[in-house]
Symmetry: C2
Subunit: 134 residues, 2 copies
């Protein structure tokens, strides 16, 4: 279940989107998931070095807003993997456009990987995992 949705500044779609993911970290976590990263330590090990408290709070926020789901992959100490939902995977075009823009207009950024540019949202969804949450 999802859609808790905080207060929105307006009903403009851009504004509501930014209310949710308009910060410096959320889309980087989504990016990592697009690159098949799924574990807490994967996100921590990304080159941007997200602070661990920010990571935990962003994962909570993204999950409570239906952008990602978590499901356990071991129980001894309970550990979760995090995956994009259809809603989360649908952010891929946004991220792709942002990466293209940066590559073309920000001199010191690297080119986006080919595989990333040619990816499609539906490729990012793990059907089994999403269905398991019904």
């Amino acid at each position: 279940m999802n859609t808790p949705q905080t207060m929105h500044r307006s009903l403009c779609p851009l504004s509501t989107a930014l209310d949710l993911i308009g910060d410096k970290w959320s889309l980087l976590i989504v990016r990592d998931m697009c690159m098949n990263k799924s574990k807490y330590c994967d996100f921590q090990n990304s080159p941007e070095a997200i602070p661990t408290n920010i990571l935990a709070s962003r994962l909570r926020k993204l999950e409570s807003n239906g952008i990602i789901v978590k499901h356990p992959y071991q129980t001894k100490p309970i550990r979760h993997e995090y995956y994009l939902t259809a809603k989360g995977a649908a952010l891929l075009p946004v991220i792709q456009q942002l990466a293209i823009w940066a590559h073309q207009h920000m001199p010191d950024s690297l080119p986006p990987p080919e595989a990333f540019l040619s990816a499609k949202p539906e490729d990012l969804i793990r059907k089994r995992d999403n269905q398991s949450s019904v």
Copy 2:
């Protein structure tokens, strides 16, 4: 002249883009400019009600990073209009994708205007104004 560029968290294009425009307000200002708004009070009157000090600091930041240019439209009390540069106009696809995403996945957001979805970056650049800054 532009490109002062603050420190980047990494060279990932997405990360560098978010270093610059990864906040709740910057893209709303760009959106307003895409809708042919150009004056300080236009931005202030948008429904999200940006605080005036934030607006002023964002305009400075966007200008110093080459996303917008300002040029005077009167001199009695000096007043400026703000326009997108080619670099700023190239953010249109990003904003369009974000708006599409929100419309499809955030229940209480309005549909993006048709004119906005069919716009192209080159339509947003005022050739005369950009050339005048040479």
